[in-house]
Amino acid sequence: MSERANKFSTTGLLADRKVTQLMAFTAFTFLVFSYFSSDIFFTPENFLSMAYQVPEIAILSIAVMLSMLTGGIDLSIVGISNASALIASYIMTQKMSEEGAISNSWILIACLLGILMGLLCGAINSILIAILNVTPILATLATMTLFNGIAIGITNGVSVSGLPEQFMRIGNGTLFGVPSPFVLMLVIAGFVGYLINRTGLGLKVFLIGTNRKAAQYSVMGDRKVIAWTYVISGLLSALAGLIIASRTSAASPDFGNSYILLAIVIVVLGGVNPMGGFGTVTGVVLATIVLQMVSSGFNALRFSQFFYLAAQGGVLVLVMILNTVLEKRRINKSINKSLGS
């Protein structure tokens, strides 16, 4: 019992250190851009627009985080979110009258079917990865092509636009003065945080990510746990897709292709170990906010979007290099310490 408590306090400490580092980094980015672009960046309008843009990418990143915690990866998130958004949007536009009127129940049905699509896609990933033992990278690379292909096939490659007004209110409205997508994101982050920190499933996720073989020998049903993470990842992707559709009033098969790199950058920056076994929801949400600030800041300073792309890649590689160098130093230090004593 004491050992278990001990383990939790050390991971808690480690989590705190990463989160503290990130908070400092967030504050630093905020100050830099506020200083250089006080007229555009440091305005309430800009923060409001960031609050509308952060949720979708944060939710996608949380989905990637879940799969990464088990030592896998989910590259099909964007494929799933687009497919779900397209199904929901298609149903809505079909059931809409000429004047754009539609009953709330049809919107609800459309959203539920979109979510169902996400669950279904997640289940396909689960079957490939957990049951057939396909490597997660390869399985999700294949399903990403498949889901994207299905979306293109259904819509002939064109986007569905002109969604009903009630639906758009979800993505553009406010709840208690806070943008509603942001509230949704907090609810989802809270749910996933609870799931991975307070439930048996979450504990197993971390154990599998730390050592799959050990998890296998302890008969905890590792396949079932992995299957669940990809289904939940599909669900989260679908929700992100619906939020995107409702914010932009459109769904398209090639929307947000750049989000895959971005989501992985965020997850790694947020302190999740790509080999599995460590990560926090707080870290991921903070990292999303940092990158959104960088994106808005670059925009305000009139850097091109491709410069932002290069910066994303640079951040990813640099953070990984920093992590490995620091990790090595830490290990050497602890070895020296134990040799000294």
Binding site: A142, G149, A310, G313, M320, I321
Partner: protein, 339 residues
């Protein structure tokens, strides 16, 4: 090798798949079995095959590379820009090719530093560098489409080895690239099977630690692999520019999946340690045959991507099932030994 083993090989399965698919399409539309169509499939396969050979080497070594299309277009586009800026002899074909290959090797070196030098996972590294390369190219080197590529490159796109008019009146052309691409393919096959480097690539795919214990430098092997892949991608990129007769910096991005699909369908194991050049050639031909001829089967072009996805899912499923079976067999064999 006994027949049962031969039948179980991925290459054999793929050959059967190609034959069956040809018969199905051929029965629906006789246009399929013409020399013109065969040469068309070949022509659309050259660039992809060069990329695929690079990817094959990486996959055998147990890694994965998603940056190669960006490395390719970066090299091809930048080589054209350098040619124009420095006013190098526009008639020359060799100069742009050498330039592109060198740029490709340099970009591959970048991957090599991150992967071999710092030990960062290959997928993460190449995702990151793909972003860096694309961003740097489009924000610093150029973002506009170049239609007047140097004459040498432009002329090369219409250099045909065989060219005649068929009885039906269609022009049948076999591009001269078939010779160099074949030579490179054979060279890569020899490199993988006959050299110490090639065998260390397979060893590395089997496991890094055992490779180290064999006395092979893992880092040096990895560095060579990623630079070699960079060079191959650079070559593919400049040939792509030449065949398209334009240098568009937005091209090729997103084509990594088709190439990886071809290599995996060709039987290379994504876990590393297994893969053949012959299988990769068949995989590339198969994918291109399907993409070029789905329309003849009455499948509309918007479903092409889904078709590639389905094929890929089927391919990896078959691979995974046979892998699982093999593991089970080995396990039961070792269990019975213990008993």
């Amino acid at each position: 090798m006994n027949i049962k083993k031969l039948l179980r090989r991925n290459e054999t399965v793929l050959i059967f798949a190609i034959i069956i698919f040809s018969l199905v399409i051929g029965s629906k539309s006789p246009e399929f079995f013409t020399l013109a169509n065969l040469f068309d499939i070949l022509r659309s396969s050259f660039v992809q095959l060069l990329f695929a050979l690079g990817v094959l080497i990486v996959i055998i070594s147990g890694g994965i590379d998603v940056s190669f299309p960006i490395v390719g277009i970066f090299s091809g586009y930048t080589a054209v820009i350098i040619m124009q800026k420095l006013e190098l002899n526009p008639e020359s074909l060799l100069i742009p090719i050498v330039l592109a290959v060198l740029i490709g090797i340099a970009l591959g070196g970048f991957n090599a530093i991150a992967i071999a030098g710092f030990g960062i996972p290959t997928l993460i590294t190449t995702l990151g560098t793909a972003g860096i390369f694309r961003g740097v190219m489009l924000s610093f080197i150029g973002a506009s489409f170049i239609s007047d590529i140097p004459i040498g490159l432009d002329k090369f796109s219409t250099s045909d080895l065989i060219k005649f008019e068929s009885d039906a009146g269609t022009l049948v052309r076999l591009h001269i690239l078939v010779i160099p691409v074949t030579i490179i393919t054979v060279l890569v096959a020899l490199l993988l099977s006959r050299t110490i480097f090639g065998r260390s690539v397979y060893a590395l795919g089997g496991g890094a630690e055992p490779t180290r214990r064999l006395g092979i430098s893992v880092k040096r092997t990895q560095a060579k692999i990623y630079m070699l892949v960079g060079g191959l991608s650079g070559l593919a990129g400049i040939l792509y520019v030449s065949l398209q007769r334009k240098a568009n910096p937005y091209d090729l991005a997103g084509s990594e999946l088709d190439v990886i699909a071809a290599v995996v369908l060709g039987g290379a194991s994504i876990m590393g340690g297994y893969g053949t050049v012959f299988g990769t050639v068949l995989g590339v031909l198969f994918i291109n045959m399907i993409k070029n001829n789905l329309v003849l089967l009455g499948v509309s072009s918007s479903w092409q991507r889904a078709a590639v996805g389905v094929l890929l899912v089927i391919g990896i499923t078959i691979q995974a099932i046979s892998e699982n079976r093999k593991n089970k067999r080995q396990k039961s064999a070792s269990d019975s030994e213990v008993a």
